[in-house]
Amino acid sequence: MTQNLLKLRVQNLHKTFTLHGRGGIELPVFQDVSFDVASGECVALVGSSGSGKSTLLRSLYANYLPSSGKILINHHGNWVDIASVEARTKLEIRRETIGYVSQFLRVIPRISSIDLVAEVAIAGGSPSEKAMEAAVGLLRRLNLPEHLWNVPPATFSGGEQQRVNIAMGLVRPYSILLLDEPTASLDAVNREAAIELILEAKKQGAAIVVICHDEIARDRLADRLFDVSQFKAAA
């Protein structure tokens, strides 16, 4: 039943960067991008480096502002265009509906890893004890050594940071997940742990958009591929 429920609808999305500092040159990235993602479905964005995969994913999270087009988010059963809605609603959608794992971790400094993960759950409405339990469970499954839990991730290795990042993205039962290279800096064992967690979220109905150069991981996660380079706008 839930399999056909649409969670995300991208309609005629267009993004051009205008670099005012460089004489206002225009940097067209993509145009006329449209696709839908349903509950329990995973779409992998593919395309050459610089084709706009991360730009598209960031737009879906309202971190980048599209030049035109719509990004309709199924937010508690209502369609909301995250590209045009007021800032307050964008934040609410991020808290309650969309989880995002960026390519590189960027977090509030000086906060321990476990608190970073738990805070996401608390912001989404979990009581603090439950949030802490969920954080512990995830960090354990992602094999983050326990002595690192109380340390801020600033000094972590790339793979350790990425596991904190994944835990932050999966600690809530988000109905939409946006993942930019979630497994890139992980070794085989940890990659497997991350894939398992993402597949569980998918089984529970998350609509997932992922960028993943690693073909083994991509094949296990994605139901279909979406080639962003096909939408290259003329310069």
Partner: protein
């Protein structure tokens, strides 16, 4: 949810015609933190003054919802009403703690005074609560009877914050809260502010020239230039994908925010 504060086409020109700010409109909701950045002289402090009842704007209106009674024009309140608002629902963190503290009153007295202003009378309770708040801002309990002038700048700033938060305001205005402090003290103060804003769910308007401060504290951001708001949006969007030429310049001038 109803807005807590609403600015409608707020503008102010100083005597002699010097433009302070113009045509600023936004709504702030309970628990939201709005950052205001922009070059020196762009009107940030003027705007903050207008919002916090200190400068009567020459154009537009500022409305505030005191105690869930709906939005009311701040400048149509009577003077005593406005003063009460400033001591209870609002807190103003001054850039210079000397402007926000009574320098000839002890740290504990500075905090207790705000409580008395909202009706507390029991000395032991007032002292207890003052001590509790000074501890929360990491002032050692042994210093409660010391005068602020015997404190370092960072400590004074923390006493000022305790003084303001003790009355559980719903809205806090901050003008360069970390200005003039050295970097490690700034970091601690920011962590503290962030924690308090979170835990208490207070709304805030934070004026700063430091993009790292807004990245950390604010949900939304307004970029000001020559008295006007040139761009506004989610803080991370404005910093990562700035649209206006001036915002792009501002973001590209710092190494990493």
């Amino acid at each position: 949810m109803n807005a807590l504060l609403e600015a409608q086409s707020v503008g102010h020109s100083y005597a002699g015609g010097q433009l302070g700010c113009e045509d600023v409109s936004f709504r702030l909701y309970p628990g939201e933190v709005l950052g205001v950045v922009g070059e020196s002289g762009s009107g940030k402090s003027t705007l903050l003054g207008c919002l916090s009842g200190m400068i009567e704007p020459s154009q537009g209106s500022v409305r505030f919802d005191a105690g869930g009674q709906g939005l009311r024009d701040v400048f149509s309140l009577s003077e005593p009403e406005r003063r009460l608002l400033m001591r209870t629902d609002w807190g103003i963190v001054r850039q210079n703690p000397r402007d926000g503290l009574r320098m000839n009153v002890s740290a504990g007295g500075n905090v207790g005074e705000r409580l008395m202003a909202v009706g507390a009378r029991n000395y032991t309770e007032i002292r207890g609560e003052a001590l509790d708040w000074l501890t929360r801002v990491e002032i050692p309990s042994g210093r409660i009877d010391d005068l602020p002038r015997t404190f370092s700048g960072g400590m004074q700033q923390r006493v000022q914050i305790a003084r303001i938060l003790v009355s559980k305001p719903r809205l806090v205005f901050m003008d360069e809260p970390t200005g003039g402090l050295d970097v490690s003290v700034q970091a601690r103060l920011l962590d503290l502010l962030r924690g308090l804003v979170r835990d208490l769910g207070v709304a805030a308007v934070v004026v700063t020239h430091d993009l790292a401060v807004v990245r950390l504290l604010s949900d939304r951001l307004m970029v000001m230039r020559q008295g006007r708001v040139v761009e506004s949006g989610l803080t991370d969007q404005v910093l990562d994908d700035p649209q206006h030429p001036y915002s792009q310049l501002l973001v590209s001038s710092v190494l990493q925010a």
